[in-house]
Symmetry: C2
């Protein structure tokens, strides 16, 4: 990164700024008009898990939903970075059974639940996590569902050359109107590929996701299904005490929100036909959340207080400071009349 | 923070820079000569847990060590942000008994162990954490030891006006050669006060800690005792798979290293009579560690490979990138002939 991005978020303590998070962000319409932007938007950015809706979209567009009888909860889980709470793993388990597969079919690896209470509960009951607890298990179920529906070998479905990943790559290219031939490519946390692209391409993709008529026809109905499923079941997208779930729930069906690792966040806003993409230089997810709240508020949405200026409390529950949007960073953003 | 600090650390993925961490740092001699610095050193910075040695020093200088029969392991724990592993809580427990106190005497609050394996082990055995598992419990034992030794009421020992905290404040002022009257002040994570000061004051304090002859006479012997205890028992300072413990162990008795929350790190280097202080803008501890490694290497110390360019591995243990020092950030730092 050659350019210096602006400070978007500050961490305060005892009345002083203790830390700060620089970043870049933009708001774009489904026509590609840039309503607002800040910082360097051209550097290739790995969308990480923020792109999960597009990783699920080839499956949703394939007829697999009907053929396999997938529910809205299951579709929401496909777009998730979930906490590994009991409801997440229950839904993952039912989904897996519909595919006629067992746990070893997952190629995402295993980790203890992201949610500490879920982790403690698991250990307390002498259970160990498996791939269903992986925050990406829903994404992988979507990938497996596509392979099963198309009759492809499921083995190796996370490899970039596998037809599942080729379908996802084509979908991302078409939806974000970008080419990924020379894009930086890496295994993501769960080994599925993540391709880097300029942040403005990511924002455009999610503006179109908010306004499926601007997507290639092939993907329009699938995008509507995924959007509806996610806003109907926001808990499945993340879980207890998580921004994606709580803010989506608070906004009714007005927004699809998704975090990606290393400080990425996207929003799709159908009413305004807008997409938002944020990348914090530091990779901080809490900072990206506060930046997203600042953008949503300026676009006219009411974000729960808890997620606007986030209270920082210590081990004795004393308020020590806030995570807050930097005063000037978003001042030139407003909802168009 | 008004100035733009340089990028000190980069996060790579698939050959591209994914995230970056800006920060400020300096190396100073016990005479106050600045060997090297980068970024804004004047902004008031909360040292957080990096200052723990100076929070233990009034106790170490009070005669409490001898009077209470404190061991080197217990003294090392006073300087710790520990993992809450069994050995940490065992030592904390024995220390508490020597004070004739019980667990409710702690005013630091409770949290599950910082180390995930220790947390899982605790839950697996149906135990819940108490204040002994708090990463600051050793610091609080040092504070309680001072109160007990001086015959002060232990209740309220974390309040800024309590004699324990007044003694600590005087010690920090004397050792870092700074005044804290108008300094930003906040309860730390454990409620004990943390006073902000310019980073160059923090570095000077730890240069003098490396060369106690430059400390006020009152603190000289106590500083030697704490330094020796920490480098003899580095595990107590942090724990398994932690930078402070592993790098201190690798360097023998050549360095005292201590992390503070929100991306602070300090080092005391007796051979060179140098102190180091780092503050990452983003608050990232892993980034601060990599910056510390870059500084230590350039000063002639051999840091374990694991902690120089930190490998980032995914849920399937695939190498996805590195956390590494930015090429140019440390190029003008070298050990003086």
């Amino acid at each position: 990164m050659e350019k210096t991005n602006p400070v978007l978020v500050e961490v305060t303590r005892g009345g002083a700024v203790e830390s700060e998070h620089r970043g870049r962000a933009l708001v774009v319409s489904s026509d590609g008009d840039r309503l607002w932007s800040t910082g360097d938007l051209d550097t290739a950015t790995y969308p990480r898990s923020a792109i999960k809706a597009f990783q699920a979209l080839p499956m949703a567009a394939s007829g697999a939903i009907e053929a396999l009888g997938l529910t809205d909860e299951e579709l929401s889980l496909c777009c998730a970075s979930h906490n590994g709470e009991p409801r997440h793993t229950q839904v993952a388990n039912g989904f897996l059974a519909k595919l006629g597969l067992a746990e070893p079919a997952f190629e995402c690896g295993t980790h203890w639940p992201m949610d500490q209470n879920a982790l403690i509960d698991l250990a307390w009951h002498h259970h160990k996590p498996d791939a269903r607890h992986n925050n990406c298990s829903g994404k992988h179920l979507g990938m497996l569902a596509l392979a099963v529906h198309q009759g492809w070998d499921t083995q190796g479905y996370v490899q970039p050359e596998h037809p599942v990943q080729q379908a996802i790559r084509s979908c991302i290219e078409a939806c974000c109107d970008t080419r990924l031939d020379d894009a930086p490519l890496s295994p993501d946390g769960c080994t599925a590929p993540t391709w880097a692209m300029p942040l403005h391409r990511l924002a455009l993709g999610f503006a179109r996701f908010a306004d499926p008529s601007r997507l290639p026809e092939l993907y329009q109905e699938g995008a509507r299904r995924l959007y509806t499923a996610a806003v109907k079941h926001p808990f499945m997208v993340a879980g207890t005490d998580r921004y994606c779930s709580e803010v989506m729930a608070a906004l009714g069906d007005a927004a699809f929100l998704k975090v990606g690792a290393e400080g990425v966040y996207i929003a799709s806003l159908p009413e305004l036909k807008l997409g938002v993409a944020i990348k914090m230089d530091s990779g901080s997810a809490p900072a990206a959340e506060v930046a997203m709240s600042a953008i949503l508020e300026r676009l006219g949405y009411t974000v729960p207080e808890k997620w606007r200026a986030v209270e920082l409390r210590n081990r004795n529950d004393l308020l020590t400071g806030h995570l807050r949007a930097a005063d000037s960073a978003f001042s030139d953003l407003s909802r168009k009349p």
